[in-house]
């Protein structure tokens, strides 16, 4: 295990950063509260790998945190179901301002294949204004990292 300390890390080299989303200045630190409002867990797998050694979103100051109070925004995956609409609204209310909303995956961006399905109550943008969308079903971890870097500013 200690050998990892001397060896080259498993993370891929970082690419060029895309332009920062205007109006948000988080100065190189982005904490997100992850809310799964009705996902198939495909996006969760990709979010996990975005944070895992190979893509290592952590090196850009991106972290998932345990409370919306600690967060700069929400990372929403899945399509908004009836059961999760209430919790989502509560989580939104618990965010300190200024805050950002990230829709991760097609379901969160526009409802994806679940549009109009029985258990779905709304799409995310009907509930809250989305700042960054990450399309894909599921999105590639590299895309997730790149999109989040436009918010984090690093």
């Amino acid at each position: 295990m200690f050998r990892a300390l001397w060896r080259r890390p498993l993370t891929e080299p970082s690419s060029e950063r895309r332009a920062t989303v205007t109006g948000v200045n988080l100065r190189g630190s982005l904490q997100l509260r992850h809310v799964d409002v009705g996902s198939c867990n495909g996006c969760e797998v990709e979010v996990t790998s975005a944070l895992a050694p190979h893509y290592d979103a952590g090196r850009f100051g991106i972290r998932l945190v345990a409370s919306p109070r600690h967060a700069d925004g929400l990372l929403v995956t899945g399509v908004v179901t009836h059961n999760m609409e209430g919790p989502l609204r509560q989580t939104l209310a618990a965010l300190p301002r200024p805050s950002v909303i990230v829709a991760c995956g097609d379901c969160a961006v526009n409802g994806g294949i679940f549009v109009g399905a029985q258990g779905v109550s709304a799409t995310l943008d009907q509930i809250v204004e989305v700042d960054v969308s990450i399309p894909g079903c599921p999105p590639h971890p590299r895309d997730i990292v790149a999109a989040l870097r436009t918010l984090g500013g690093r």
């Binding site: 809310v35 409370s67 919306p68 109070r69 209430g86 919790p87 509560q90 989580t91 209310a93 618990a94």
Partner: protein, 666 residues
Amino acid sequence: MGWFLAALVLCGAAALVGAGLPRRVRVAGSALLGAAGCLIALAVALRTLIAGDTLTWHTTQILPFTGLSLSLDPLAAWFILASSFVGLAACLYNVGYAKGAMASRSAQSLFMVFVLTLIAVPAASSIMSLMFWWELMALSSLLLILTDQSRHREARSAALWYGAMTQIGAASILMGLLVMTSGGAGQSFADLRSHSSSLSPLAQSFAFVLVLLGFASKAGAVPLHVWLPKAHPEAPSPVSALMSSAMVAMGVYGIIRVGEDLLHGGTPWWWIAVALLGVVSAFYGALHATTSTDLKRLLAYSTIDIIGLVLIGVGAAGALKDNGQLGAAHVALSAALLLVVAHAAFKGALFLGAGAIERATGTRNLDLLGGLIHAMPVTALVVAISAGSIMAVPTLSGFSGEWLLLQGLLHGFATTSTPTVIVMLLGVIALALTGGLTAVAFVKSFGIGFLGQARSSGARDAREVAVSMRLAMLLLVVPSVALGVAPGLLVAMLSRATTSALGGKLASPLDAGTGLVLSRLGGAIAPAALLVGLVAVMALAWLLNQTLAQRRARRVEAWGCGRDLQTSRMQYTATSFAEPLQRVFADVLRPQSDVEVTHVAESRYYEQSLMYENRVVDVLEARGYRPLIAAAQRLGRVARGLQNGSIHRYLAFGFVALVVILVVVG
């Protein structure tokens, strides 16, 4: 001395007023007289501590045959300082508190008698005077426990335990003191003092052990404590405050007075025994305090804890003195005395606070309280500061005492006697163990009682209590802060008290100043400077909050992980707060818990109701005293068989006894 007598007379007059006047003026009148008496006693005690002299007084008018003798030296004055201050606050508190049974003639009168005895006991200077005040103190407090009729059963049981223990204790003290008179000494303390060195070491030790048993049971030392967590909570709150802060101190006073003063310090093992009692009490009391959910019972156990620390100080001082380490002995005894006064103030305030909570909500069960800080800000402030003091938060009085105690123990390690070193080590360990446990107990009582949401309708509808009660509580907060910020102001008085106890020249290594400085031993604390630093940083942080973000914080719903339903029942209770520790110390506490599940009729996979009950009973009472009582009862039944009414048998008993005596004597 005239002023001191005036104080006693005023308290006595207060008792008469309480017994005589009609209801309307009774409470206020007796409180006024009692408070005046306490105030004068306080002033006299301070004068004696500053002047360092001894006042005496004797009369044959009051007690037949022997007369009543009083004497006020710095040691006695120190304890009167504590009891008269708490007495003052309790009298004031009583004005707002006394309603119903507590406002009755008998209760008011007994209350004032109790205050009177607490001031008089340390001043007694002969065996008969001491026993007179002592028994009066026991009797008045015993009857006061029975005042509150709403919890009839508990109060009666508490009174029974208390009465039995205190009478056995008093008999033990009396026997011990009488042993000291053997060989023809008089009954005044001056006679005993000059005579005691001519007693054989065995007689001295015998006397000390008897006296120690009596005083230690009054002080609530484990295993003689069983009455305390029953009696202190059941008494009306001003009485509990007096019992817990002033009356237990009388036990400590007795041990110091007889052991150090009258018997001149004796041998080291006496004091090792005292310190060991202290170690056991401190740990046992702290542990039970953390798991108690009845607020007043928690406070009673915490009294056992603090008195344990005091006894560690007293024991360490005695052992160190006998090993020739007078400097460290002074420090340890100073710590014990400082803790007595600090404890009197903060425990008094806490018991009065508990009384306020009980008055406002109708319960003292922490599991049913919560959110009281909004309705009762003054009580919350008082309890917070007093709890901080008992947790030894730096710049509050408990810290000064505990720091000094640790210094005494630390420098006591320099002794060469191994048993004494072990006492120092055990003392340090007890201090360390109780420090954390006390923090749990009082974070629990403040956090569960005053913060969060109300857990019952009583707590929801609480209102702040009467002005006189609030004033009395605030009065008791003053020493907690003053002794914490500037403990050095009392150093001169403390040195006189320790010197009058340990004898010899004025030899305390404590330097005068605002903080506590032991320049010869290389230790010092400067709490005033700490306070300035703490306040400055807090002010800076507040400014930061005000300037950086928006000025007022936005009020939102508490974050409950997105749950739609959040009720006050989802909060941790006092029981659940202490549950992890209860589990860790299950071997000592032996908690009992029952789970009862009722299923719905249709399926046993669905529960209709679930009842969980958790009890922590006093192991020493259940395993130690109950079997003893049961054995005594069996013995009684056997003895009953001996007497069948036959005159022949009774005569035969007498004859056998005579023969036995002759055989033994011959």
